[in-house]
Symmetry: D2
Subunit: 396 residues, 4 copies
């Protein structure tokens, strides 16, 4: 067997996403046969994060505490960014400047300006960029994309998307996710970003107008944590007795119109009791409908409005058929569920395909694409603030 | 057994709601033990509707083709209105003027002004009024009300309500429901009216602001039907080859704030493929959550956020326990579902209770209450038209 | 409109089934257009049951305390039997002897011999007989029958049927259902009878062998009730401080083979905690599969194994489409559930069709058919007792 | 950080289970903190299986084509067996003879005698043994065990377990799974073995009697495959034009009694259309009930019969709470599903715990335990053959 070209990867950051990305890079070649071999070259962490331990645990060959040097290294082919949001832009721009391909966690920047500049820099430098909107590569969501593309839903009239969580009750301290300086945004950037991207992906359409929005912070103060938050690293910090101000939203709802004529509502929440991680949607069209709920991520529900009416109804597709469902050739036999992290591994596979000049299994968001999502995020916030509708064409 | 006092009922109108009301009046004393005996005195219909046949079928003692005379009759105690919407106000006002108690289908009037006047007239005349927002008396919804009232949901943060149907595709002709003159409103008055009432009922709160709205008509022209549509009677008409303009909405979405601080979204649709009659909601609070879908009307889902976390989750309550669930003493043993029409029979029971000076099982909407719902409907339409947020306090 | 011929009905018995049958006879002509008009002529009850009150409540024209005289009356066309099981045979045989058509609750007799004799008597007398295996006329079950008949399931390989309840915990006293003399059988006759009939109906096949069985009584003694139990009437009795022996089973499980080669398991239970009234089945064949659970009685789940594999899965059919689903023309618009009692009304309609010489919507069980079901019940009990397989051909 | 002691592992076999075990050994130390470090020392494969490629892909340090030599090597601490069933006993016995700890796929032997001898040999040699009944370590099943143990289900009355698949239609050739010589058993050994173990585990009880059974082969002949099947390796073989006889069952159903008084039914199937991998159960007790379906493996349904009746029902527990649910500390945040292979990784963790002298998270089956499961399998086959009940005490 001829040896494949390798891709030397630098992971910048650790944390939750550091773990999922490390897992993805470690698993991808075991399950898939990617056209490039991923080499887990170096992980960067702040000294107090003990990056060598992280490297040892996840199989990175090296550890570094100097991301600038790391990025500049000739040995690195791909810079994978999993820092808190406020650090995405500086790291990405340095990597682009060094001519590296970049894969970055979402949302790519804390501000719309940042996203626009990142997209422009990438375009100019002609590097390849990738944004980890991982839910696109959940097989059920990739299947939804395919069904829409095949015309099985017909002309789309209704889009409903919501990403509901419940973890952020009063007992949770003022972590970086509640601080606008570190996170750039609250639930909106964390959760609505995902469903905006997902709905743009599944429908193949753009949002043209925000028709009203609400942004609300239910819990306005939270307990401070002691210690520095260098690099946004919250692990290991302790709660202090003092309270600090929450500077981001807990929930954002908005109404929208799509370029193909559909009307839509979007909602994210961090205190939607009963919903651990309900990232879901329903789309109704002239020929059918689809719906999805990530808590049952192996299933897509499909309604075929063209079927014989006697046997018409919502069909629960268990998206585990090798040969028929995206990414499933790599995994287990029919009826054997996959989990959360598999979408990241699927994404790693597609990154390696794109780096080898091949098409990804389903379209892959780059910085330009992520900038479009960020325009929608921004327009929704303007609408909430101004209490009126906002045309997307006015938000650059 | 001492004979109970009777209530002589006049039903004004036939059609779909005429059948459900007739069934309710015929069934209520068989299953419940109401404090007044309902007497199905007379049904009114246009001559071409053949009210005598309707009377024979459903057990009305008499039929009439003159509603004014009927209402004025000394023999009538309660006037029950099931005409198309545009006729609600004239009939109701005549009945009130005659000193009759009135029960009326929803929405009570085609215009906000009409609703305000009906409420005022009823107040002045001191008659009892009832509005057939029947879903309040679906046992699962009545239970939701009780659970909220008991504090099981805590402080409400999120309300999501939608009423989705799919019957109105291109093949459906221009029936009275698509004609603003006859119906007063489209999906908004037909469907959003129900969920606005239901959410006001379940939460015990008022809507204070509409924060954005969309109203859209997907199918702008439909085939005309031949024949007169006197009294809005569509049955038996034939499609013509010509098309006419649809003058009402197909879908209306809006965002709202509740008096207790919750944020909300509402949506109704007539082309939401895959949803036959999905009248549903989800409410999340600080102590729990509830959700409901009328297509599984015997079930309420409840999430107890105060439960031991190991066994915490959504519990499907089958609302069929006599003794524990509202209205169930009257019906079947546990686990034996009831159907759509039972909520109307439950409502008939509560009307008879109120007429006898007793409290209904759960609160009953009167004209004043229905006027409040109509203010919300109006505010949402203003918001959609003006493309901006609208405070409810400005809509009278 | 030409007046239809009437059918004078005598209802023998009251109780739970008396109520459901009375409701069915009262509702059938309101919703359907039956070819014969049901006339609720007379209800029989024991004097202490106060049959006149029952008659007044449900709309029977007369009440009687002498069933023998009632049955003999020339005015009666159809005798409808809802007594406790031990009285079925005497009443049915007297009715047959009087040349009356008979509809009887299930199981038709307390013993196999009784059932055989009833079937023979009916055959000889050439009267029409009907057995209230009501679940056949639950629209979803009737649809299952049709789908199997159309070949949508293919050759059947697996049948699983269970009827699980949970009401019979230790606190329930020794009602007639626990006394073999009055009931003839326990859960087996009460519940397995239904699912044996239902599976014979849906598959169109006969059971040829019982391959093992268990019968068990978990609660062997229960509190006695004071008062006489004339006619098996338990209503109004009080618990005594003494205990008496339960003489019937609480649960019966058995394995079986069907004439078409399928293997099957059956189970009934009265203490299957969590199951209020879970009468359900799953059938797998070479071309598809169906499953049903009465607690969601408006739904049938269907799996089309011939569908394109990408969109293959279990489809939830909401069985509420007029025109497409059995009996639905009579009821409500799409997506409006019906309830438990509607299957009885559907059955009343089919009885009136058969009495008018028309075919029922789906096949109707007569005494001969019910005798076949009773042979299976008997064979299962023999298998449980003898601890070995039993061929049906040996049980007459 | 002090370095932990390592465990040198030899994997004997490749195939589907070779992949799941390799993944488990590779992942366990990344997600858990096991008290021993797993070292993926050597994988054995037949020369035509190209074990070096397998080793390279999955991270085994060495490859071998001589399992006898491998097992005898002083460097090996644990022999992990994933060969076809007929090879389990010879490999396990050789490993035991060499004083190695052994983990073996299920069922441990092709015959009851083989299982008994393996258990005896292990006992005598005082090595540690483990059997990969992986479903015990699916968090929802482990939680079921804990809930039963805590008394939340009370005294168990009903057990229903089934493992339904549908892959084995006529088009599938005569692979090793259909050949009794290679597999030892059909669906019974493959699938019923899992649910017998799972029910023994969850209930904490033993099966005392088989009360009837059916074993059936629906498809009696299948296309032969060309090529040798050395070591049962089917991959890469082609279908021949000739047919051969299927010598194992497609489906086995049996009824049983548990030591605590419960009655049970069990069923496995390979042609249960619509069921990809429905490994599931329902258990009803005096205080509650639980049910599970592997196709929704992250969920356990729980019914608390002691709850206030108004809010009583089936609760869907999403088994993803770190701190509250077994094994979840190692994985993702709440509401992020895990997949099929995670149960194997959880098992690898528990094996490493036991090797370090610690208790596993939930009880672990050893050869003796697996022998008990095999006695049940054997008794069911006797019952099917003899057409009568079989006491477990008679099957050694």
């Amino acid at each position: 067997m001829a040896k494949k070209k390798g891709v030397n990867i630098a992971l910048v950051g650790q944390g939750f996403m550091g773990r999922t990305h490390s897992n993805a890079w470690g698993q991808v070649a075991k399950f898939f046969d990617p056209p490039r071999t991923p080499i887990m070259h170096t992980v960067f962490g702040q000294p107090q994060e003990q990056p060598q331990d992280f490297a040892d645990n996840w199989g990175w060959l090296n550890a570094s505490t100097d991301w600038k040097q790391l990025i500049a290294s000739d040995e690195i082919d791909l810079v994978d960014i999993v820092t808190p949001n406020f650090m995405h832009a500086p790291v990405a721009e340095a990597a682009i400047a060094a001519g590296k391909n970049v894969s970055c966690e979402k949302p790519i920047a804390a501000t719309l300006k940042g996203a626009r500049e990142m997209a422009a820099a990438a375009k100019k430098a002609k590097v390849k960029t990738f944004v980890w909107y991982n839910y696109r590569r959940c097989p059920a969501v990739a299947l939804a994309y395919k069904l829409v593309k095949q015309g099985k839903v017909g002309q789309i009239r209704h889009v409903r998307a919501s990403y509901l969580q419940e973890w952020a009750d009063d007992s949770v301290p003022l972590a970086w996710r509640f601080d606008k300086k570190l996170s750039g945004a609250g639930a909106h950037g964390d959760l609505n970003a995902h469903i905006i991207d997902m709905m743009r992906f599944v429908t193949g359409q753009e949002i043209t107008e925000i028709c009203g929005a609400i942004a609300k912070t239910f819990i306005k103060e939270r307990q401070l944590m002691t210690g520095t938050v260098a690099g946004g690293i919250a692990d290991g910090l302790k709660k202090s007795s003092k309270k600090g101000k929450v500077t981001v939203d807990d929930t954002v709802l908005f109404l929208a119109r799509f370029s193909g004529g559909a009307v839509a509502n979007f909602e994210c929440a961090r205190q939607a009791t009963g919903n651990y991680n309900r990232n879901g949607f329903e789309i109704n069209g002239t020929r059918g409908a689809i719906r999805f709920n990530f808590e049952r991520m192996n299933e897509l529900e499909y309604f075929d409005a063209t079927a014989e009416r006697t046997v018409q109804g919502w069909t629960t597709l268990m998206c585990t058929h090798a040969g028929d469902h995206p990414y499933l050739d790599a995994w287990w036999p029919d009826g054997h569920p996959i989990g959360y992290e598999h979408a990241f591994t699927n994404m790693a596979y597609d990154i390696l395909r794109v780096l080898a000049g091949k098409k990804p299994v389903v379209p892959m968001p780059d910085f330009e694409d992520a900038y479009q999502t960020q325009r929608v995020l921004e327009a929704a916030m303007i609408s909430a603030r101004e209490k009126q509708a906002v045309k997307l064409s006015l938000v650059k």
